[in-house]
């Protein structure tokens, strides 16, 4: 090969409901060429294959699949997620697929309903979701360095998951998009992207500092580039007699969970001003997550840096659901960054 060429590396797995939290190691994605790769985008595509319900709701499968991405020995994803066994947070290498970035593609299709609970030969909607992590700086991958995805059914989403409703099995495809380089790039350093996710449980009114702060453990400073946030919700209400739906819910049902973010200098990133008109029932409070992270776009570009051992912190203040509702919410925020690693 004597010129650069576009390349996509893909692998897919069929996930069974039965393997719940098991890892599915897609080591097949290891590059075998002796060429350098310049990766610009990392993707996850989820195809439920069959109906999850007879509703036309937009179910967001990005909440149902956790992803772990690594290049060589470097984990590109870390997280701190609340789980039933660790209500205040558990350190993990997986993040929900939707936190990779905005849902760039969603397709509804009408399919024959094979879910046993519905009458035979009825039809229902299925939704395929595609999520893309578009890298701020291209990721240069040396020859014979594995790009490895792991996917699993979300363990946290079990909180919201109704075992009788979600498809079994479904397909998850992962991919890396970029260029195969003809010659070794002349680099003094290469950019290493990173995504860190926070999420506490939010099924009570406890004010939670989300696990622990995100700390830069590297010698190099981290360039912070994006905050992403969204909420998975079990609607609680029944639609057509069925309680369904885990979905990105910022817009459809605004999440009243209040958030505060503190930067490396321990300053408030978000400053709420007194409301207009001023009233006792309308206090000057942290802002609701849904008012900042909007549906679909769900992210805010930032430009900051984090030196070694500096931290970013997030605090969420869940707002209790009304007594009549059995809403469960799982707010999540991710911080995207990269650092320059000397070669």
């Amino acid at each position: 090969m004597n010129h650069d060429a576009p390349i996509t590396l893909d692998a897919s797995v069929i996930m069974d409901r039965g393997n719940g939290g098991l890892d599915v190691d897609l080591a097949a994605m290891q590059t075998t060429s002796r060429d350098w790769l310049k990766i610009t985008e990392l993707r996850v595509f989820i195809d439920p294959g069959q109906s999850q319900s007879n509703s036309s709701e937009q179910i967001d499968f990005g909440f149902m699949v956790d992803v772990s991405i690594s290049v060589g020995n470097e984990d590109l994803t870390t997280g701190f997620i609340g789980t039933p066994s660790h209500p205040t947070g558990e350190r993990i290498a997986y993040i929900p697929a939707f936190l990779l970035g905005p849902r760039i593609y969603q397709r509804f299709s009408t399919i024959n309903n094979s879910n046993a609970q519905f009458a035979a030969d009825t039809h229902a909607y299925a939704v395929q979701n595609s999520y893309a992590w578009t890298l701020q700086r291209a990721l240069y991958v040396p020859p014979n360095t594995p790009i490895k995805f792991k996917v699993r059914r979300s363990s946290t989403i079990a909180l919201l998951d109704d075992a009788t409703l979600y498809p079994n099995p479904f397909t998850v495809e992962v991919g890396a998009v970029g260029t195969r380089l003809a010659v070794k790039p002349r680099l003094s350093s290469r950019s290493m992207p990173h995504l860190h996710a926070w999420s506490p449980r939010n099924d009570d009114s406890t004010r939670i500092e989300s696990g622990e702060a995100f700390r830069n453990l590297h010698k190099q400073s981290l360039r912070l580039t994006r905050l992403t946030g969204a909420t998975a919700t079990n609607l609680g209400a029944s639609i057509n007699g069925i309680s369904i739906d885990v979905r990105q819910d910022n817009e459809l049902t605004p999440d009243p969970t209040l958030i505060q973010i503190y930067d490396a200098n321990n300053q408030d990133v978000i400053v709420p001003l007194p409301p207009v008109p001023l009233s006792a029932s309308n206090p000057n409070a942290p802002v609701p997550i849904s008012s900042l992270f909007l549906a679909k776009t769900n992210s805010v570009r930032i430009s900051d840096s984090l030196q070694q051992n500096q931290t970013y912190r997030m605090i969420v203040s869940p707002v209790a659901a009304a007594p009549a509702s059995n809403l469960l919410r799982l707010p999540m925020i991710a911080l995207e960054s990269f650092r320059e690693v000397p070669l």
């Binding site: 709701e57 001003l273 008012s291 909007l294 430009s303």
Partner: protein
């Protein structure tokens, strides 16, 4: 420490119909230099329970109005920005829906998604991205002007509950968020400040068969009212009843040259809300728009609700329609003239911009006013058509 840490400011307003407020978004808040990148506006209609529907009310959950179709909610919020004494919107408010920056969140158009049929979104969000990051010196004043437009807007016919009578919002909750970051950069000589103006057609009842209403904007309505040259980024248009209502229109320049030759459907010209223009308007130049609105819904696009009671046609939610047009762009002004001279700290006598950045200090609100302003309003309005 970082010199560019992010900084978001949010304020919430609850508006009654026809109520207007001026939000003081930046009013001697911090002694820092900022660069503002965008404004996010989230509109939530409130039902008769009023404040109980507030998302952050500890006793309640999100608004649940069981609304068949409210994707026009941002069209009944009129929104404006004022920098010091300079208005960025002429007239003072422009329908928030028209300020939306093109983005892939056009995916969120409810009429294209199945969710409109059973559980429409109670919120409508607009992101207005600035043409370039706007430098804001310490102590600068910035206001958001809000009006719940019940007189001219769409609220009186906005939605119909799935199983009920037509309902109007008794209140509108609006969250306005400034997205920006701190900066240590010096003030640029010129600042690009956003600009928007609007034209609305009269209302037209839906359903009167064969009734066609012609409309034509006055010359001063989609006009450059400023002394400076206006860079037009896009024309935006919205029919409050449905983007696919049979509205056809034709744009032309103030010299009479057409932009589109024949009447074209609104949803075709503005498939994602915006028609990117990237042109220049000198002082008093304008964009003319004329067209027709048909009172009969495009039934082929919007099949009626023959199948079931819980799948109402979006059209059924409306009795009237109205088209709105916006002209969105920016102009360049001298930064010094926009913000005035640097504020001086009464404690130290230093210019406030010299205070260490990143150190948040609240400036005394009783600070004597030392600025001089060059009021930009009222703008001279002209109906002179250029040859």
């Amino acid at each position: 420490m970082s010199n560019e840490s992010p900084f978001f400011v949010q304020q919430t307003a609850v508006l009654a119909p026809n109520q207007s407020v001026s939000m003081s978004l930046l009013d001697n808040l911090v002694r820092e230099k900022w660069k503002l990148k965008e404004i996010r506006i989230v509109c939530t209609p409130l039902d008769s329970t009023g404040q109980a529907a507030l998302p952050f009310n500890p006793s309640g959950v999100a608004v649940d109005l069981d609304i068949a179709n409210i994707f026009g909610v941002a069209s009944m919020l009129d929104f404006g920005i004022r920098l010091q004494s300079t208005y960025c919107t002429v007239p003072r408010h422009v329908p928030a829906e028209l300020l939306r920056s093109p983005f892939f969140d056009s995916l969120a158009e409810p009429e294209d998604a199945a969710n409109v049929l059973t559980d429409a979104p109670p919120q409508r969000a607009v992101i207005w991205t600035f043409p370039e990051p706007l430098f804001v010196p310490p102590g600068a004043k910035m206001y958001a002007e809000l009006l719940f437009n019940a007189a001219d807007g769409a609220n009186s016919f906005l939605w119909m509950p799935v199983d009920g009578e037509p309902t109007s919002a008794v209140g509108l909750q609006v969250q306005v968020t400034l997205i920006g970051n701190r900066t240590t950069e010096a003030a640029p000589a010129k600042s690009r400040i956003p600009y928007a103006t609007t034209y609305r057609t009269p209302k037209l009842a839906i359903g009167a068969d064969g009734q066609v209403q012609e409309f034509r904007a006055q010359d001063f309505q989609l006009q450059n009212h400023c002394d400076e040259t206006l860079f037009v980024q896009r024309l935006t248009a919205y029919n409050v009843a449905a983007q696919r209502m049979p509205t056809t229109l034709k744009y032309s320049t103030s010299q009479g040259k057409y932009i589109n030759r024949e009447l074209a459907p609104l949803f075709e010209l503005h498939s994602n809300g915006a028609l990117n223009l990237h042109t220049i308007l000198d002082k008093n130049e304008f964009i003319a728009v004329e067209g027709e609105i048909d009172s009969v819904p495009a039934r082929i696009d919007m099949p009626d609700n023959a199948g079931g009671a819980d799948l109402p046609s979006p059209i059924a939610a409306f009795y009237e329609q109205q088209a709105m047009f916006g002209l969105v762009g920016y102009r360049e002004v001298d930064t010094a003239a926009l913000w005035g001279p640097a504020l001086v700290s009464p404690q130290t006598g230093q210019p406030i911009s010299d205070i260490r950045p990143g150190l948040k200090e609240i400036v005394d609100l009783r600070l004597p006013e030392v600025r001089t302003y060059s009021p930009q309003l009222p703008f001279p309005l002209s109906t002179n058509r250029k040859p």
